[in-house]
């Protein structure tokens, strides 16, 4: 045999064997076939009326293969099986369109059953037949770290009394990154009657695998009656939006269909400026990369309010980046930073009082009507007491 022909045959075998071995490795890694629900789940819930199409996103242990499965909703209003009406693949995830059954309004858990799995995801789906004129949202950020669990429990008890329509959690959920703490926070949030809509903060990156396991997606959209809530991840370590995140935000803002946009993003958009006594307690922390483009997007799409955390102190900026202490009902997008719910409060601004709390935001007929510390519609931030 000629050496060149032997070499060619070797190369051909290599070309055939490499993908074969790779495919066998992938099968060995992903067998037996399992799935994980990426969304909806607590943190990335789906909210809508019965009869509408619910999208369930599933990750599979083998690429592009779905096992036989059964999805159902379970809640105080009853249990109903979901019927799949369409299926498509986005990347390596299967996106299933499911018809929502006729069940009473309320929060439901999503149960997934396969031959090998039986998983229950609490408060993943919320059914609402009608949307009231006034929608009341609560925003929290920088949740109580281990050792301050009572603050979290008190917040949940208070919300069970006040009954907001949704709770937005704007990052720094899991201080110290421990398994027990994130499970505790998840269990507390699951006690709320309202949907919980989550975005990640910088502390989540200390145990990113845990955040992804418990709460799921990074950037996500929640349609909420006349509102669209866009939860944006800015906390991957560079206090910036990435090209992929920015493009995602652009796409989502381009399909508002007349709804009012709210953005929650952990890092404040503007630097503290001359009013600062420190730069967020030494954490740096405001949006750097893509800031100008982000502001332009908010202006062009008339975003009502941008909610942030991270500084552990309240602050309000207008769209020029001016720190507003005179009034908060100025025109244009409101850039609002909310104090910590339970993490140490900081003295970023002299003007702003130091206290733990949350922000209460009201929309009337889809328009931002008030938010706590609004002088015309005062609903003060609640002082939950010293840690």
């Amino acid at each position: 045999m000629q050496p060149s022909s032997s070499k060619r045959r070797g190369a051909m075998l290599g070309v055939l064997l490499t993908p074969t071995l790779l495919a066998l490795s992938i099968v060995a890694a992903g067998w037996p076939l399992q799935v994980r629900v990426v969304s909806p789940r607590l943190g990335t819930p789906w909210i809508g009326r019965p009869g509408a199409m619910l999208e369930v996103r599933l990750a599979t242990s083998l690429p592009f293969v779905l096992p036989a499965f059964d999805l159902s909703l379970q809640g105080p209003g009853g249990t109903a099986r979901l019927q799949e009406t369409a299926r498509r693949w986005e990347g390596a995830d299967a996106v299933l369109s499911m018809s929502l059954p006729e069940l009473p309004d309320g929060g439901y858990s999503l149960r997934l059953r396969t031959k090998a799995q039986n998983v229950l995801l609490p408060k993943a789906v919320f059914l609402r037949r009608a949307w009231p004129s006034v929608l009341r949202l609560v925003q929290i950020a920088d949740l109580p770290p281990p050792g301050r669990e009572p603050l979290m429990q008190r917040f949940v008890e208070e919300m069970r009394v006040k009954q907001p329509d949704a709770v937005l959690v704007t990052g720094d959920i899991n201080y110290k990154g421990t398994e027990s703490n994130i499970d505790f926070i998840h269990a507390q949030l699951a006690r709320l009657d309202a949907p919980v809509i989550m975005t990640a903060g910088n502390h989540e990156r200390e145990a990113w695998h845990r955040y992804l396991r418990v709460f799921g997606a990074r950037d996500h959209r929640t349609e909420f009656g006349p509102l669209v809530i866009l939860s944006v991840d800015s906390a991957h370590g560079r206090d910036a939006l990435t090209p992929s995140t920015f493009r995602w935000l652009q796409r989502e803002l381009n399909r508002l269909d007349g709804r009012t946009a709210i953005i929650q993003i952990h890092h404040p958009i503007f630097a503290p400026g001359p009013a600062a006594t420190s730069e967020a307690g030494g954490t740096g922390g405001y949006l750097r990369g893509y800031r100008r483009a982000f502001l332009e997007l908010c202006r062009r799409h008339d975003v009502s309010i941008v909610l942030s955390g991270h500084w552990h102190q309240d602050a309000v900026f207008d769209q020029q980046g001016a720190f507003r202490t005179d009034r908060v009902d100025f025109p244009g997008t409101k850039y609002v930073v909310t104090t910590a719910l339970g993490a140490d409060v900081r003295n970023v601004f002299e003007q702003s009082p130091l206290r733990h709390g949350y922000r209460w935001i009201e929309f009337v007929d889809g328009q931002l009507a008030s938010y706590s510390s609004d002088p015309h519609n005062p609903v003060p931030s609640e002082a939950l007491g010293a840690p």
Binding site: A28, A29, S61, R238, S244
Partner: protein, 276 residues
């Protein structure tokens, strides 16, 4: 599989995993364990042929166990067992390809494998590491191929330094752009191994002039990445074989400096991909 293929696949795996799950040196020993294979590059190559087979088997076993641990899950960068499996893939793959690999002629297939490995990250961040194992096994089987003789050439150290500066930019997307960008880059390199393309290669000084503006990533990724790959391929083909150590250090130095500039140090905003 050549040493270059191994390096790019292991780096791909590390980059995907660390960018997505954040590897912090303050997290403990596990953060250093995953770097062992990179340090092992500096160790003199083993003389016993059986070690190559052992290496390939080790890489295959570790890759499957590692991928099984991360199947539908996420990498806990503080877990020592996962760090050890990752290091096992790297060291095993390295053992399988070490012998004479710096003298082995690079083929278009090497770069297609690198490209495919990066694209696997779109399915799961573990994908590129998983690609090392079969490639290492085949390297052992394919060892019969005679090693290339020494090839005189240049040491394009400065050019590779700039390529090192540019290459990590898409990785900072912390999303799919890293995998897509580097896969396109590897395809660009692969295209220079097509016979007629080799004739087009410009001289190194001209290449350096063209590469420098690409360090600031202002072109769309689908143009920028293959173009950088094309220029990288032309540069690699003009380098002497065995690989000149100065060129290797320059490439790694560029990668490390770029990594520092793009991390939270925020030294030069200009150099950050897509920042406005």
């Amino acid at each position: 599989m050549s040493i270059t293929t191994w390096l790019f696949l292991y780096l791909a795996g590390l980059v995907e995993l660390t960018i997505r799950y954040r590897l912090s040196f303050s997290a403990g020993l596990s953060a250093f364990v995953v770097l062992i294979p990179l340090l092992a590059l500096a160790v003199p190559r083993p003389q016993r042929p059986r070690l190559h087979v052992v290496g390939a088997v080790l890489a295959m076993c570790c890759a499957i166990l590692f991928a099984r641990s991360l199947s539908l899950g996420f990498w806990d960068t503080q877990r020592m067992d996962l760090a050890l499996l990752s290091a096992g893939i790297g060291v095993g793959g390295l053992l399988a390809v070490r012998e004479d690999s710096s003298r082995t002629e690079w083929h278009i297939a090497n770069w297609l494998l690198v490209s495919a490995g990066w694209l696997l990250a779109l399915w799961h961040p573990i994908g590129p590491m998983l690609a090392i194992a079969p490639a290492a096994s085949l390297a052992v089987w394919h060892r019969a191929e005679p090693a290339m003789k020494e090839v005189p050439g240049l040491s394009p150290a400065w050019l590779l330094f700039w390529i090192g500066m540019a290459l990590p930019k898409p990785w900072w997307d912390s999303d799919s752009l890293g995998a897509i960008g580097t896969a396109l880059w590897a395809l660009g390199v692969a295209s220079t191994y097509v016979p007629k393309m080799r004739d087009l290669r410009p001289p190194l000084p001209l290449l350096a002039v063209i590469v420098i503006p690409l360090v600031y990533a202002w072109l769309p990724l689908w143009i920028w990445a293959p173009l950088l790959g094309l220029l990288s391929g032309f540069a690699l083909q003009q380098a002497a074989r065995p690989w000149p150590p100065a060129a290797a250090y320059a490439l790694v130095g560029g990668l490390l400096l770029s990594y520092g500039l793009h991390s939270n140090l925020q030294l030069f905003g200009l150099l950050v991909w897509g920042s406005r």
